[in-house]
């Protein structure tokens, strides 16, 4: 009992001195708004940041990439979040990438098809090719696994293949990546798309899926990291000017290699360090 209390006391002293040492410069509140894709990651990074600097409050609100950019410009937010690079007409703002998001096509392990052209992917997802034979596979009905409306993976997929969600003839609509992968495992004729991070993780666990390359580009986290994978985009923090003070400290913290595990937990790909 005595020992317990003493150790607790030592621990408390150690904690208070260490926090005091680090809070000398950083106090205040950061308002961060924007993309619902980036928000969960920034929320986690924000928690870690608050733990390190107890006198800082990080306030994260979602509302889409365009709100993030608009709020950063108007000054409503200290930092805006966008799940894309800045557009050309937004060059007056300052964008810093903190991670990359990539998605890949996933099919059942036994599927004979391992590469699809963009045209073939379009034909499959719009229902023009309803049998695997039509894209060079073994005969069998195609099951299209699509994401629910509002998901960032859906948005990226539609953007890349220049499709509208109402064009897609889905047989199954799913919520998160894990549900999609389980659906594909249970259906040898299924094809869908998920975050590359989650697909690679499942393959490493021996799950009966495979990553299908699109237009000859083999999907991998490394390719996303290098920026050579077409179905990927940067997750960007937007500020009005080059970041200073608290905002600069937070952005540097978000980009540090300490945050890579958090980035991977959200199935995003860390930047090259």
């Amino acid at each position: 009992m005595l020992i317990d209390r003493r150790m607790f006391f030592i621990g408390a002293v150690a904690l208070s001195t260490s926090t005091r040492a680090q809070t000398t410069d950083l106090t205040g509140r950061l308002v961060i708004t924007g993309s619902s894709t980036v928000a969960p990651l920034v929320l986690e990074i924000g928690k870690a940041f608050e733990k390190r600097h107890p006198r800082v409050r990080i306030d994260v609100q979602t509302g889409g990439s365009s709100r993030g950019v608009a709020d950063a410009r108007s000054g409503l937010a200290d930092i805006g979040m966008a799940s894309r690079a800045l557009f050309d007409n937004e060059r007056d703002l300052f964008g810093t990438p903190i991670a990359r998001d990539g998605i890949c096509l996933v099919a059942h392990k036994t599927n004979a098809v391992s590469d699809l052209t963009d045209e073939q992917v379009k034909a499959l997802f719009t229902g023009k090719a309803a049998d695997w034979q039509e894209v060079g596979g073994k005969p069998g009905r195609v099951t299209i696994v699509n994401k629910a409306e509002g998901r960032s993976t859906l948005e990226l997929f539609l953007q890349h293949y220049k499709l509208k969600n109402s064009d897609i003839k889905a047989s199954v609509v799913i919520g998160d990546n894990a549900q999609g992968i389980k659906t594909i495992v249970g259906n040898p004729g299924a094809i869908g798309y998920v975050s590359i991070g989650s697909a690679e993780f499942e393959v490493s666990q021996g799950t009966a899926i495979k990553l299908v390359s699109s237009g000859g580009v083999v999907p991998s986290s490394a390719a996303v990291q290098a920026g050579t994978f077409p179905l990927s985009r940067p997750l960007t923090l937007v500020t009005k000017q080059a970041p200073t003070g608290l905002a600069a400290a937070f952005i540097a913290f978000a980009r540090s290699s300490d945050m890579h595990p958090l980035v991977k937990e959200q199935f995003f790909v860390p930047l090259q360090s």
């Binding site: 409306e149 609509v173 389980k182 249970g186």
Partner: protein, 284 residues
Amino acid sequence: MYRSKVDGYVGTGLAMVGGVCTLLVLTIALFLLRESWSVVQGVGLRRFLTDSAWNPTEKRFGLAPMLLASVATAIGAIVIAAPLGIGSAIYSRFYAGRQAARIQRAIVTLMAGIPSVVFGLWGLVALVPLINKIMPPGTSLLAAMLVLALMILPTVALTADAALATVPMPLQQGAAALGLSREAMIAHVLVPAARSGIVAGILLSLGRALGETMAVLMVAGNVVQVPTSVFEPVRTLTANVALEMAYAVGDHRASLFVSGLALTLIVAALAVASWRLSEARSHG
């Protein structure tokens, strides 16, 4: 009438607890109304029923196929679960030996405690691939009906069992004295006497089936459409809210609250019907 001080305190306390419950329900209903109000005003309720598709980000708000899917999965589930549940109740009450009846009741009660996500997971990894072999894609109205039927089976069985238990003994004795066979007694005297209780239980289960989310989300396929066969995927109102709420903003978000409101109204109607049946029973 004399009331002790303690009695008074307990009465006041209980009244407050009851009041808080009522208030909570009202608050939730008001919240649903408030959150959906902007889209009800801006878009109009009619478009939720008449729009050709559900693409809120492309300004199309057709909820009707999901309303239909919710009702279809729930009714399909009850059609499967009711005969099984009532049969199980009749068996444990009139046919099974004492020991067998106890074991069966214990197992049914245990089944009632299995979390819905477990049923969903089982459906996704076992049932859906099986249906897929008969008719792709496997995730379908049928899968949803079967998983829901399993989930509400214990409710049907336990409420039917309880209803049969309340049938007055003299009815059974009278029937036996008339020389009726056990089958005739059950079919023509005991089950009819417990009918309102059994039906109230079925309505309760129907409410549960309508409100179920996770299990249905995992096996139904979630495609917004009016199915032409039980092998086609459907999306229920609950699955719609769960799938899209996390990322919805503006009118899209408000229209999801409209789905919630529609569902709440249906379940409330069922609850009232179930309650009136039990009332009828206690007066008859």
